[in-house]
Symmetry: C2
Subunit: 406 residues, 2 copies
């Protein structure tokens, strides 16, 4: 039930209530007073232009309220607390802001660096890690108090023999209360183990030139980093760390032709369907398919533009693709069995992100320049709702609290 609706009913019900004289309960009557409700169908939409967040309800398909005060959200991401009550919003300005989804209030905010790109929450929910550009490194905070727990500068030795700090990208959580991340200038992947009394770092060097983003598979086994400085990708098998970082998909990247690349694709949200991985080609109008047993390339699927996000519906039957400029007003749907494009949708201008409901019946798609988030039925492709939001970008639902790597 949307907050506004239930409040309205509260006011109406108040007369009756005085007569009952029951023990107090949590629902209150203030205009902005929180309502007792489950948090399993809540989510947030980043409103990048205004530094605000829209709090949404996926059952009612509605915006509950807009919350201000998150700073620069021009490249923001979100993680959720293990009780699915709080959202941790990572802002471009180095801000780490905690939003209480039930009260709609910011109940914690720190500026923890000059410039950050995202973060992760530990398996046990106790720690929030933030990857930083300026200065480079990872800081780990207590999820309850936002106090600094560990500070891991991304120090590396340059070719000139000097010590510098690298930009940190691709921060993910891994089983065993670990965080994994990549160092852009240092060509390294680090594993930060928070399970013991003291944080421990394991470093993998020479993993490839300029890792710029990364993902971890849903079982927390494979950490895969995309490379900006060369073709191919770097893979760390966390079940076999003794093997070190391996190179996979040697032809993956911009290639010899150096096509104009409007935007490097995102790696988070790679579509896995059985033993197939669907992922965005760089610069080409293609979605690529690899066999996850040996990471060999098995197919190239022609699509409408340069793909950015390639995400599989939770039942793995469909793969949904968003695109870079100038094709970013379209979203295409691929059948994961036949590899055919079965639908092209036009949710609005500058489509930036999309999120499935956890069992996959709906998808929410943000269109920044249309100031809308559109909800589709993924079976019929029917438009179910169009919600207003200020320059919406990322869409994140609370089920992520319960998934490795999300």
């Amino acid at each position: 039930m949307p907050i506004s609706a239930s409040l309205k009913t509260l006011f109406a019900a108040a007369g009756l209530a005085l007569l009952t004289a029951t023990p107090a309960v949590a629902e209150t009557s203030g205009d902005d007073a929180p309502v007792l409700r489950g948090t399993g169908d809540l989510g947030v939409v980043i409103e990048r232009a205004t530094g605000s967040v829209a709090l949404v309800d996926t059952t009612e398909k509605s915006v509950l309220e807009h919350v201000d005060g998150f700073g620069d959200l021009s490249h923001a991401s979100v993680k959720f607390s293990r009780d699915a009550r709080h959202a941790f919003v990572f802002g471009r300005d180095g801000g780490l802001t905690r939003l209480d989804l039930l009260t709609g209030e910011i109940d914690g905010r720190i500026i923890q660096s000059g410039n950050s790109i995202g973060g992760a929450i530990s398996q046990d929910g106790r720690y929030v890690a933030v990857g930083n550009y300026e200065p480079g490194g990872v800081k780990v905070f207590d999820a309850e108090t936002l106090e600094l727990v560990a500070d891991v500068p991304a120090d590396y030795e340059t070719d000139e023999g000097e010590t510098a700090q690298a930009k940190v990208v691709g921060v993910v959580d891994a089983p065993g209360n670990r965080f994994v991340f990549s160092l852009f200038e240092a060509n390294q992947i680090w594993v930060l183990d928070m399970s013991g009394d003291e944080p421990e770092v394991t470093k993998y060097r020479d993993i490839g030139s300029q890792p710029y983003d990364a993902l971890i598979t849903a079982n927390g086994r494979y950490y895969i980093a995309g490379l900006f400085g060369e073709d191919g990708m770097a893979l760390l098998d966390l079940w076999h760390p003794e093997k070190g970082v391996q190179r996979i998909l040697p032809d993956y990247g911009r290639g010899e032709e150096r096509l104009p690349v409007y935007k490097m694709p995102h790696l988070e949200g790679w579509a896995m369907a059985g033993d197939q991985a669907f992922f965005p080609a760089v610069g080409r109008h293609e979605v690529l398919v690899a066999d996850t047993d040996d990471w060999s390339l098995t197919d190239r699927i022609e699509v409408q533009g340069q793909p950015i996000f390639v995400m599989s519906r939770p039942d793995e039957r469909q793969v949904w693709v968003t695109f870079a400029h100038p094709d970013n007003d379209a979203v295409q749907v691929i059948d994961s069995r036949t590899h055919e494009v079965i639908e092209t949708l036009s949710p609005g201008d500058s489509v930036l992100h999309k999120e499935f409901t956890p069992r996959g019946e709906h998808i929410w798609i943000s269109a920044r320049d249309s100031d809308t988030v559109t909800v589709y039925d993924t079976r019929t492709f029917e438009k179910l709702a169009t919600l207003e939001a200020e320059s919406p970008s990322g869409v994140f639902f609370t089920y992520r609290a319960h998934r490795i790597g999300l």
Copy 2:
């Protein structure tokens, strides 16, 4: 939000609201007053002897309260509403009871048949289906009002040419707002499609003798029923319904020797790790391993007793096994890579069920005759907490709201 729940709380809340006349804070001090909190770390433990349910908190590793009034819970199971606020408890007496996890109150209860075995909640969260023994069939209820939406008798033609009703087992939800279930005496699998204006049933006949339990894989693709009347299993590929039901694992079952079987193993919770499926042998002290590409048997792992539940840790690195009498005081852990038993634990007498926290850092194990639920760290096997419960059986956490087939 179910209407009755919200009204009850509304009436109660209004008194408080009028008296305080301030923008009141939601957390209150009343002894039994509900507290504003996220529902992502809640769960329930079935207390079978007393017909009660223990409401638990997986962050604090504690029992919040015990709630009575669920009837006969001697073989009970639980599903959660899509907002993770309510638990639907399916009792052996045909009772369908809805528990509000925030107030700790039962806010809906119907006796919908004489004897039922379990149920499922639809992909969109609107429908709750119950599979019944007596009389056989499936009833579908509105999740908010508990009103009957569809009544599907399990009619079939007996060998004598008469119409009878079969016991319904293995009810699961499948993508596309469908339910799938098996008819014990009728040797059939039915698919009930709730996505249109009218419910539609598709019947698969002669699927094998006496299906007694079933599971659906995490992506909602394969529905697999165990057979009581013969060896082998029945598999329906929901991506290829035109192929009909196929038979797999022809040697699976009690075999020629007809070993004494203390308890038929449960199928829900089959451990899937990559393209391996780990599942309980029938009557033998073995966990079996099959290749999910062709469902061929690839290994037999010797364990301490007749396995009942074989479940994989969410990161697929470990497989945890409980046993039938007389070995039901032990739990064994198998390494999914090496297939070796790496740990044997003794959580108490008559271990009945276990549940992982959604990212897998902990496991909760119920021991009926010890009246305890024990929480272990799955990495160190350290005992983290021992909670008291009355003859505990099933343990269910709210993350299931967001998974296909759970």
